[in-house]
Symmetry: C2
Subunit: 213 residues, 2 copies
């Protein structure tokens, strides 16, 4: 039975945690796994227009909480990740990716010219807002991967869209680095008395979600 | 060492497959796990504005391939998933979610009135395009989860943004059902001679991707 598969057990275990136990901290080893999992997240053309900020400073967390509907997870979770993306991608950015590809794979940069031109052409044909949305989409792939990894490690998480991204960008001074905040994800360990952890998961039926053609 | 963790081995094993072995089919049991994994994917407010089409008909796959830069994975993969989202969300849609929540958890619908109003208010305050992008974002979370699940099962996948969504919507007659295609993901087993499977993975360094504040 597929429902007994460990993946399904992992995904049934997870829920959007409302209350963390502030005493419990994620181990350095698990943080390393989470970071490597985020690093390996696929992205369009492999461009990784991503930056993951781990916010530790209590004063900073307090300021961010005020701009995230005062959700206490921002403060109480072991670690707070702000998923950011590049606002724009220019030729220089693409060139760096090409150089990284060449170095990693031991190729000549010149052998990647076709790919480089393809990506630059893709960017040229799209306006700033489309590129910004496209970059943001990559952060959502990373979120999907992050939640899956955390569930496997039995680490709780609260994926959040409910915050003021402009205020976050201001507080974290992201604009000067061509970055913008897209998602927030506190991670840690659920409080035993978080009643949301006991609720049955609500999902559409297989019949509603899937169709074979 | 985190890099020896099975999750990291899974994620290092995966790559965007360029060439599938058309002879190899995913088992019914693994398809069941993949579907359940997609069903359990988190979404904003739990609304799941998603529909996953599994395309089996060869003629349909051929037509879709023509609108996806003739990428052969569309034909050769064991299974072809088109990730679709609802174009819009109306009060009726929200009411159905509330009813499902009440039924699943044994609550009275009336006890969920605050949540229902909150979601309806959220929708009222956003124009159609914002809602459509928001729905699409949820498909990207599902993609992240899908790729992670496939890697764990040692099933290959090719996440694709490179297709003509309008043509797909037309071919699959999605508009009448308030749906639009957002992502395409052929899944199956790599061909042994897919040279892309041998290439080293290109990723940014930990220093480039992460920052602690």
């Amino acid at each position: 039975m597929s429902h007994n598969h460990p993946i399904i057990a992992d995904l049934n275990w997870r829920y959007a945690t409302k209350k963390f136990n502030p005493e419990l901290k994620i181990s350095a080893e698990n943080i390393e796994i989470i970071k490597e999992s985020l690093r390996l997240t696929p992205s369009s053309f492999g461009l990784q227009p991503l930056k993951f900020l781990f916010i530790e400073t209590p004063e900073l967390r307090e300021k961010l909480k005020e701009k995230a509907f005062h959700q206490t997870q921002i403060i109480d979770a072991s670690h707070l990740i702000v998923l950011c993306v590049n606002k724009k991608i220019d030729y220089n950015y693409v060139d760096q990716h090409i150089e990284n590809t060449a170095t990693t794979r031991g190729h000549e940069v010149s052998s990647l010219l076709g790919f480089s031109n393809h990506v630059k052409n893709f960017i040229d044909n799209r306006d700033a807002e489309i590129i910004s949305t496209w970059n943001s989409n990559q952060a959502y792939i990373a979120l999907g991967q992050l939640l899956h990894t955390c569930a496997n490690l039995r680490i709780d998480a609260t994926p959040m869209e409910g915050f003021d991204p402009d205020a976050f960008d201001e507080i974290l001074d992201l604009r000067k680095d061509n970055l913008q905040s897209v998602l927030v994800c506190p991670i840690g360990y659920r409080a035993e008395d978080d009643k949301y952890g006991q609720l049955k998961k609500v999902r559409k039926s297989l019949e509603d979600l899937f169709e074979t053609r």
